[in-house]
């Protein structure tokens, strides 16, 4: 078991997501920054869909009760194992009773902790990703325990990799969304000619942007939405749906983020700047 001594801002179990249940309104959930999760799992020779912990901004304190191996990825958050510093993208041996503590955030917004074999919490609708009310809680709290299997005899093929972080990027690649054609020339210029900043309203459901563009009075019937769908409200607010985002919506879907750009955006926080590039 991994014991959560302190959960930090927002700590949750995530795999790559819950697929095949959109038709009953279940969002896919899953890790916000899929790129980082895949790298962490790859280092441990895990399946890429094995469940990891997603750590948001301020880190948790976690204690392991059996031997295993872990790897950290994503945001650069100062981390120590029994008070000794540990780095992202290395295979770290864990002994019984070891304590992993996260401190200050240096870069990015969401860190990942993968364990050899993946965390073994109960699957609900084919996934371990926490999303209330599909799972009983949306996130982990102090005192929670997360199961994993003991690993004592493992020789990693690679112990460390140098990674060029995908999230240093500030340009998000977008495709035309289903209602792209409703945008006026003026709106198009506004969207692509200037940078935007992430507003305080940013979470696993959606990221809102601080700056407004010219509004609209386009009305439409409710229709499907996906992670990465950029909706435009009548007031001119751009809302980018993320992994816990609703499966349907009534605002025009003007743009659609590339999947890689969803991982980039997942590492942005309040006040960070970004630009759009149409592909």
């Amino acid at each position: 078991m991994l014991k959560v001594l302190k959960a930090g801002l927002y700590l949750s179990i995530q795999d790559l997501g819950r697929f095949g249940h959109r038709d009953i309104g279940v969002p896919i959930a899953g890790a916000m920054d899929v790129e980082s999760v895949k790298k962490a799992n790859l280092l441990l020779e895990n399946d890429e869909n094995d469940a990891v912990l997603e750590i948001t901004m301020t880190g948790p304190t976690l204690q392991f009760d059996t031997d295993t191996y872990i790897s950290l990825s994503g945001a650069h958050i100062v981390a120590t194992l029994n008070n000794e510093p540990v780095d992202n993208y290395t295979v770290i041996k864990i002994g019984k009773g070891d304590i992993l503590s996260y401190g200050r955030l240096e870069k990015g917004f969401r860190g990942y902790l993968a364990v050899k074999g993946g965390f073994q919490s109960k699957k609900v609708l084919d996934s371990r990703s926490q999303f209330y009310p599909v799972t009983q809680a949306a996130r982990l709290k102090d005192g929670d325990e997360v199961p994993y299997e003991e690993t004592t005899d493992y020789t990693p093929k690679i112990t460390e990799v140098k990674i060029e972080e995908h999230f240093e990027n500030t340009t998000l690649k977008v495709y035309k969304g289903p209602e792209f054609s409703m945008l006026s020339d003026a709106q198009l210029t506004e969207i692509f000619a200037r940078p935007y900043t992430v507003s305080k309203e940013n979470n696993r459901m959606a990221y809102q942007l601080s700056e407004l563009i010219t509004g609209h009075s386009h009305s439409m019937l409710t229709s499907g939405t996906l992670p990465g769908t950029i909706q435009l409200t009548p007031a001119g607010r751009m809302i980018i749906l993320m992994k816990d985002g609703q499966t349907t919506g009534g605002y025009p879907r003007i743009l659609q983020l590339s999947e890689e750009s969803i991982s980039v955006l997942a590492q942005k926080k309040y006040g960070d700047e970004l630009k759009f590039k149409l592909v």
Binding site: I24, G224, L226, T248
Partner: protein, 244 residues
């Protein structure tokens, strides 16, 4: 039956949006469901589909897709659909609603705004069958169509931060049930004790798109009984096969 014209748009790297004429219509919905049945018969693993009113979002979970190739596959499927029509089983569900003031905190004000008595409002709300045009927004949330114009009322000026699970609301042309606690701006007229989403059940959401819903007014005592029956897992909502 002749199929409606459709338009197919790319929607990111692994999805397409298929749109039928932009109307809320039972025959368009039937055409979408026919298309879905024909597509499912192709048995291509990895595709998931979700319908909302006049549109179908098709997502390929396995990989990125080639838009032109996918578009042709969909058009071919639509041709095939016109030839072979599958029989679908659809249900009319009777869902109990307690319109007591304890749950329907807006019912008096809503009735007043609509120029009806509370009894008339309940009578009208329970005397129509509503078509399920989609499930989305929240797990188990049904988009219902067919509300009589006499019950159309704008959303509340200020949304509530928390609307209780099971709350039955009215908002413009829609009526519906909140399947979980949620912020919401609908006018709340009652509460339905039936779980519309239960991830522990083999079928977490018993209602399907294309089914119909009729509400039945129940007393507070019946509400409590259904609630307990639901908790111990012995409550089954009443259903009738529509196209038997």
């Amino acid at each position: 039956m002749k199929s409606y014209p459709i338009s197919i748009k790319p929607f990111g790297e692994r999805a397409v949006l298929v749109e039928w004429p932009e109307k809320v219509s039972e025959s368009i919905l039937a055409d979408i469901l026919d298309f879905m049945d024909a597509f499912k018969e192709l048995e291509i693993p990895g595709w998931e589909m979700s319908v909302a009113y006049n549109s179908l979002t098709m997502v390929y979970n396995k990989d990125h897709i080639d838009f032109e190739e996918t578009k042709n596959m969909i058009l071919e499927c639509q041709e095939k659909q016109a030839k072979s029509k599958t029989e679908r089983v659809q249900h009319l569900w009777t869902l109990p609603v307690c319109y007591d003031l304890e749950f329907g905190m807006d019912i008096e004000e809503t009735a007043k705004t609509l120029g009806l008595s509370v009894e008339e409002l309940i009578k009208q709300h329970t005397s129509h069958q509503y078509v399920v045009y989609g499930i989305g927004f929240l797990p188990g949330f049904m988009y219902l169509g067919g509300l009589p114009p006499s019950l159309e009322i704008p959303r509340r000026a200020e949304p509530r931060l928390k609307v209780q699970k099971g709350s039955v609301g009215l908002a413009s042309k829609q009526t519906g049930i909140y399947p979980q606690d949620s912020p919401g701006g609908w006018n709340i007229i009652g509460n339905c004790p039936v779980d519309l989403f239960d991830p522990d059940k083999e079928d977490p959401c018993f209602v399907k798109v294309g089914d119909k819903i009729q509400f039945e007014s129940i007393s507070k005592a019946e509400y409590e009984l259904h609630k307990i029956e639901g908790e111990v897992g012995i409550y089954e909502p009443e259903k009738v096969v529509l196209n038997a």
